[in-house]
Symmetry: C2
Subunit: 330 residues, 2 copies
Amino acid sequence: MLTRLKKENFPFELVRPHVEKVEAAILEQARAFDPAVEGYVSYVAGSSGKRIRPALVALAAGATGGVHDDHLRLGMVLELIHIATLVHDDIMDGAELRRSAPTASARWGNALAVLLGDALFSHALELSTEFPNALTRKIARAANDVCTGEIIQTQRRYDLNLDKATYFKIIRMKTAALFAVAGELAAALNGCPEDIQARLHGYGDKLGTAYQIYDDVLDLVGDEETVGKTLGTDLEKGKLTLPVLNLLENATESQRSKLNRLLISQQPIEVSVLAGIADYQGSIDSAVQTACSILADARADLSVLPHGDSHAALEQVTRFLEARLRQCLR
Amino acid sequence: MLTRLKKENFPFELVRPHVEKVEAAILEQARAFDPAVEGYVSYVAGSSGKRIRPALVALAAGATGGVHDDHLRLGMVLELIHIATLVHDDIMDGAELRRSAPTASARWGNALAVLLGDALFSHALELSTEFPNALTRKIARAANDVCTGEIIQTQRRYDLNLDKATYFKIIRMKTAALFAVAGELAAALNGCPEDIQARLHGYGDKLGTAYQIYDDVLDLVGDEETVGKTLGTDLEKGKLTLPVLNLLENATESQRSKLNRLLISQQPIEVSVLAGIADYQGSIDSAVQTACSILADARADLSVLPHGDSHAALEQVTRFLEARLRQCLR
């Protein structure tokens, strides 16, 4: 039985008080907007996500000298950027529901949702100017990476020639970029030397990459009821994920034309058939192994940190994700 | 004969070399994006607008000590933010054409246009981190104001109870905010004292407000062929502009219900009938007078600046707009 990662599942107990403070600060931020906009902001910010980014900031801070007010602000800024991108994602995907509640675009229309995402985005970047300029710049750059990753993904939909290097580039930009700055800048705010910052950047980059692969695998092989969303939505939108790229890589000419039919010509896509083939060919297991190996590399990045509870918790996050990934082995 | 303001009409001769440098720098910026995104950026950045914001930066800089490289960067940042909002506006309005070329949304779809706007936005804010943090913050705040103004405008569509205070709040946020920071921050970069910065902020705020009123008036009374766009588009989208608010303000109970029928119940709106009534009642002239009086106040803000060519050109910009407005008097 595969279940989607839930907030309570993540081993974030150690930093729960910090994450709760960020949670409160995010809702508090709604009041910084014009009264006409406040209601929309509380709605989208309040449909509480897993708050992975603020939790990573707090853990990385704890592992490098302690969690300070600046870290809570950093967690909030990254989470607001994340929320802004979700609001825009839901417009693009025509999504009606997110976490069982109507999306902003479904509730108030696309026009308002475009603007709401923009307002959240510019507000987050305004808040980030409280940091030294070099940090503000890295945050804006990461936000830019998220958009660029999504653009490339949109461009390469239904493109059976998508190579793995581009797939990894896309998921590192769209998902791992914010994880990476969470780690890096948490250390920077504690005045850590650059090599520590670089290692925590690397940790976040790898964790985010593995997290996205897990999400991609689950889209193919999760159990609809327990995962709690329709499967095969990536495929329906023409997003080719790692298991499918593995399959394409090893396909003969005639198998490729069969995949072409399954993935592109034929609507709706028969997800169970495709998943069955991918499973049979070992393409799903291979994606899981890739993600697990990336997580092992992420752990190696932690070796430079002093031992302690936060260090242990950062490691535990990778073990937790690895265990979830291994449940997808067939 | 009313013609829409064109790039060559604006009295920006004095700063033409500066604006051309910004123009080149904007196109150069396209290359700072991922190669996959570069083409989209050059397309939307290249369909050259009037570049009012960079020109204002250069004029305000010239009037307060000279135009330096930082000013060109500031002009570029503000123009990129402006371009990002145009890309998103065109999605919301379902616009097919902008300056006779297909919009990004018409050409590549809404999904890509949402992301492209986001990428331009985050890139502009990343570039702005080259400035001292206080300036970066003011730029992010102005960007936030633009979005918030648009949100409020979207909320209040078809709302005959829209009051003038809210109308002015909307146009100051959505249009004048970037004009205001153009003036203020040009002076700040020249190390001017705060009162000079505040006066140039005031000048930009008023110029932007009058500029938007001119645009609103033209939507009602321009000549379709010479204005080069369909008139009445604000009304079609339920945007109530100053001439209409003037009309509503002075309407009797029975006139209000007639306006309600003209503006809301009846589709398509008979723009020429509404314009005829607004003209007859003096509502258009009154809007023109309001804008001209705001422009006089804008000139008063310039009184603190030393005399010289740039000062004179800033004044000339208001006279130019005033002359255009007076052409709308019936």
